[in-house]
Symmetry: C2
Subunit: 380 residues, 2 copies
């Protein structure tokens, strides 16, 4: 096996594939990149138990300037190989593998020799027999992942809750995550192109967070293929496979209150700053709790926090509207912080029912498409 390639372009592809490679993987060969050289392309594969990323560099890719001298395949230690590629002196590099898998990497006047592993020992990818596929815009998919992943559980005791539930039906995509203390739900209208597609799947949160890092903030298309136990995202020349989580995701629809007794509308950004101030005190205490006092008659919203370890905080918060019944409610400010951060600089309405019932945050615009729910904390 022997090829030459443009260094920076090669490095970019390697970095994408390396996202799937974990030093924790139990199978030693998965610590490496698989390189496969065909008559017209170089295929790179990286994988761990959950994710596999594969990319194809074609000889027609002018930036890559791939020159193929001899076909073949090898597995090379991902850490060492990518560090070498990063530090090589020239714009171009050559990789050459002999029959004993001795791999020579040459660039300018520098020459590295490392030992590769047999590519036949690399695990085979499960075949994906997808009947149909779905197309989303890259920026929308990225946003859905960012907005829902905040509520993913990190408790392995309930594996399903470590994933994001995607329900595709009626030409809509509903994405939900919950750790039982909070919930984030995002709806995307797919339009007629979605036809009568119907899918119900749970994708590991870690997979989607890695995928989000590879998604561009543009309108480039991402094709999604779904099979029984795998999902494949196709981004240009790169394929991102993830296993699915098995089982039935809990019915989250009934958790979201349909009515409210008190509503208050804030600028998400300035409410976030007040929450972060109150956290300075609550984080030092044993119970990470702050209290909202919504006084409708006097048109005042007060946030208070106290911990014997640090002291107290009290702040009157600006709002644009406050209606309904008076209310005192206590909650974990970190949940509120995460929810507000995902909203950015928008107007946000908080809708409460009772002091011990979950309340929701919705952006004033498009309120049905993005709902975040927080369960309050019972205080003495």
């Amino acid at each position: 096996m022997k090829f030459s390639i443009q260094r920076q372009t090669f490095l970019k592809y390697l970095t994408d594939v390396q996202r799937a490679i974990s030093p924790k993987a139990a199978i030693d060969i998965l610590h490496g990149f698989k390189l496969e050289l065909f008559p017209d392309a170089l295929k790179l594969t990286g994988s761990n138990a959950d994710i596999t990323i594969q990319t194809i560099i074609s000889i027609s890719d002018e930036k890559a300037n791939l020159q193929i001298f001899e076909e073949g395949s090898v597995v090379l230690s991902a850490n060492i190989f990518s560090e070498i590629i990063k530090k090589l002196p020239a714009d171009e590099l050559e990789v050459s593998v002999d029959s004993r898998l001795q791999t020579t990497i040459t660039s300018g006047k520098a020459e590295f020799t490392i030992l590769g592993q047999d590519a036949d020992m690399y695990p085979h990818l499960p075949e994906l027999s997808a009947q149909s596929s779905l197309v989303l815009s890259s920026d929308i998919l990225k946003k859905v992942i960012d907005q829902t992943s905040i509520a993913i559980s990190n408790q392995e005791s309930r594996p399903l809750l470590t994933g994001i539930h995607l329900l595709i039906t009626d030409q809509k995509l509903l994405a939900v995550a919950t750790d039982t203390h909070r919930l984030s739900q995002r709806t995307i209208h797919l339009g007629e192109a979605a036809g009568d597609a119907h899918y119900d799947l749970v994708i590991p949160g870690k997979s989607l967070k890695e995928l989000a890092k590879m998604l561009n903030d543009d309108h480039s298309e991402v094709e999604i293929q779904i099979a029984d136990n795998q999902v494949l995202f196709i981004l240009g020349h790169t394929s991102f496979y993830s296993r699915l989580l098995e089982g039935n995701y809990p019915d989250t629809k009934r958790l979201i209150p349909q009515t409210s007794e008190t509503t208050a509308t804030f600028n998400a950004q300035s409410l976030l700053q007040a929450i972060e101030r109150s956290s300075l005190v609550s984080h030092a205490g044993r119970n990470n709790v702050v209290k909202f006092t919504l006084d409708v008659e006097n048109q005042e919203v007060i946030i208070t926090g106290n911990s014997p370890e640090v002291g107290t905080v009290e702040e009157s918060i600006s709002f644009s509207e406050l209606t309904g019944k008076n209310l005192e409610i206590s909650f974990n400010p970190d949940y509120m912080r995460d929810a507000l951060r995902s909203l950015g600089n928008t107007e946000t309405t908080l809708e409460f029912t009772m002091p011990l019932r979950p309340f929701i945050l919705v952006p004033t615009e498009a309120e049905n498409d993005f709902i975040q729910l927080i369960t309050p904390v019972r205080t003495a």
Copy 2:
């Protein structure tokens, strides 16, 4: 005690003083800022066993906009207080301390209450009875510290070597650090203003590294006052005290070879890159060693490295001059890397005597003012 002040300016001063405060300090009250309010200024103090930083904010400082309502003093938890100041909502803030040391911090509509400690319990600074002082330019002092501190030892078994040795005599300042494997020496010509000043002191490396972070890259003046067991650096309104290390620093002069058998001149930047490439292999091995082969007849310099764990590297390095005897010499590439980084993008000459004798790196310009020495490694 009660004052108001401009938040951003106050934060900048607090951040400077906080450099001296360590959560590891054994005395609890040293985890706090001491605030002392006089009729015309606010004095902030932070300290640990080695360093004390003190700054004075005057009522004439327009940016600070300090308003003094009631004199007094208090000690406030550095972590909590600086976090609160960072996150306060308005441009101005007010601090008010009652007779029970309850401290209220108000800004905009936010109000924090934290408990302070009695400033009388704060340790007293040792008095500094300096007879004379020395003035250096901030950027030069910063450079001297950066260039010599790379060779400081981190072995507490020989405390003196964890410091930088400063010898001021004959209108010159000589700064030296060594960990016995390498040495870095910088000379500064003080000029006639230094008079017949003569000092010989060792300042803890940690102190000087903290000081360097506070020094500007400009020609502002730093006044240095030296007493028996303390040194004081005065930067505008800020005073930086450090204890000195006791004992006689080893005589390093005799370590530096005065002649050479082989010399080679490189661009420091491109030699650094080759060293970093060779380290990719050497770092993976048990002995972190690379080999230089200087072939004067064939006018070639080769760097090689190998480790059974990773593989081999070989590179022919560009140079501008190579004279003297042929030589093979092995060394720790990390020492060479640190030395070259401190040289920046300059021409550098390496002067060797024998394979097992220390060699030196000197910038081609100003070669006597900056010398770095590296002890080679004996290989089988």
